[in-house]
């Protein structure tokens, strides 16, 4: 997918430049983009450092376990009849995801998916879990806030509330549609 995308973008740009006679400009654009990326990454290092640092304090304080406890009951209702072990991996994945701790979330999510799978056909529980997972339930969109900080926004946190509301809407829509499709099948 990305191979096609990159090839198309760059190949298209180079061909278009040759046709319109902007060969020089296109290569300096390429270099300027690379330089911009390095500058952004340096800015991100600083703001990611702060966010991940704070998040790490929070997770060391037991935030994941705290969320885990509160998510268990609602998830049990949504996923239906699943084993306790699978459920605990699901809640661990989703709590870590909510806090933006990708490193902790992925292994738990993979374990959960393995345990929920029912042969080669996705079970209802697996569908629900992956839809919730893929609809993103981040409480703090730290990447976006970090980028806004790195780009010099006056109020980098302004995105948090609209982001939170839209991610709730997105997850809710996913859950409802998943339930509906489940019944229809």
């Amino acid at each position: 997918m990305l191979q096609v995308l990159t090839g198309g973008m760059l190949g298209g740009a180079l061909l278009f430049a040759l046709v319109t006679g902007r060969g020089e400009a296109v290569f300096s654009g390429l270099l300027a983009g690379a330089q911009g990326a390095v500058e952004t990454a340096v800015g991100l290092m600083g703001s990611f450092g702060i966010f991940c640092g704070l998040m790490n304090i929070l997770s060391a304080s037991g935030a994941v376990e705290w969320l885990n406890k509160r998510l268990k009951k609602p998830l049990k209702k949504l996923l239906g009849d699943v084993r306790e072990e699978a459920l605990s991996y699901v809640t661990l994945n989703l709590s870590a995801n909510m806090l933006g701790l990708g490193n902790a979330a992925t292994p738990a999510g993979l374990e959960a998916a393995k345990r929920l799978a029912d042969g080669e056909r996705a079970s209802n529980a697996l569908c629900m879990f992956l839809v919730i997972n893929a609809s993103s339930v981040q409480l703090l969109p730290s990447t976006v806030v970090a980028l806004r900080t790195a780009m010099g926004a006056q109020n980098p946190g302004a995105v948090i509330l609209p982001g939170l509301l839209s991610t709730c809407l997105s997850t809710l829509t996913g859950i409802l549609m998943c339930k509906w499709m489940e019944k229809k099948a």
Partner: protein, 163 residues
């Protein structure tokens, strides 16, 4: 304001649970810096391609082509690439988000919209393919349509909730 409260909350939670705050802060910061370094190569390729497209005039040509369509839907055309790329690739959409912030300023409404869209959705295709492959599932049933609808709902939410 929110961020200040968040930072204070983290510190208080750490202090209350007797967490070695300095050590955990440094440990997390190290991870954050590594993340920034890890995404740099992909970000570099994406941003270079985007800039090359702009310089060649291809972007302007494509936008002119798409404009009647985006005008009809009422979506700012600068957001279209972000909305399309978001489910496909994290670094490509991050690069697009940066472009939007650069052209319109990070405090503009359109940058806020783009940020809310980015924060409310996930790299759906990538995430699903990884999870389904590791679980050995071949028939995903209604997972993809539901996940994409959820992503779209996040975009609509961004338009609704951005002041």
């Amino acid at each position: 304001m929110i961020l200040c409260c968040f930072a204070l909350f983290c510190l208080l939670a750490g202090a209350w649970k007797r967490v070695p705050v300095y050590d955990r802060f440094v440990e997390g910061a190290r991870e954050g810096i590594q993340t920034a370094v890890r995404i740099l190569p992909a970000l570099l390729v994406m941003l270079s391609c985007i800039k090359a497209m702009e310089e060649s005039g291809l972007t302007a040509a494509l936008c002119g082509f798409l404009q009647p369509l985006t005008d009809k839907m009422g979506v700012p055309e600068d957001l279209v690439p972000l909305m399309v790329l978001r489910p496909l690739s994290g670094s490509a959409s991050l690069a697009m988000l940066k472009e939007v912030m650069e052209t319109h300023g990070p405090d503009s409404r359109i940058a806020l919209l783009a940020g809310a869209m980015m924060g409310s959705s996930e790299t759906v295709f990538y995430t699903l393919s990884v999870y389904l492959a590791s679980a050995g599932v071949k028939k995903g049933r209604h997972i993809l349509p539901c996940a994409l609808t959820a992503c779209l709902a996040g975009y609509v939410g961004a338009f609704l909730f951005c002041p």
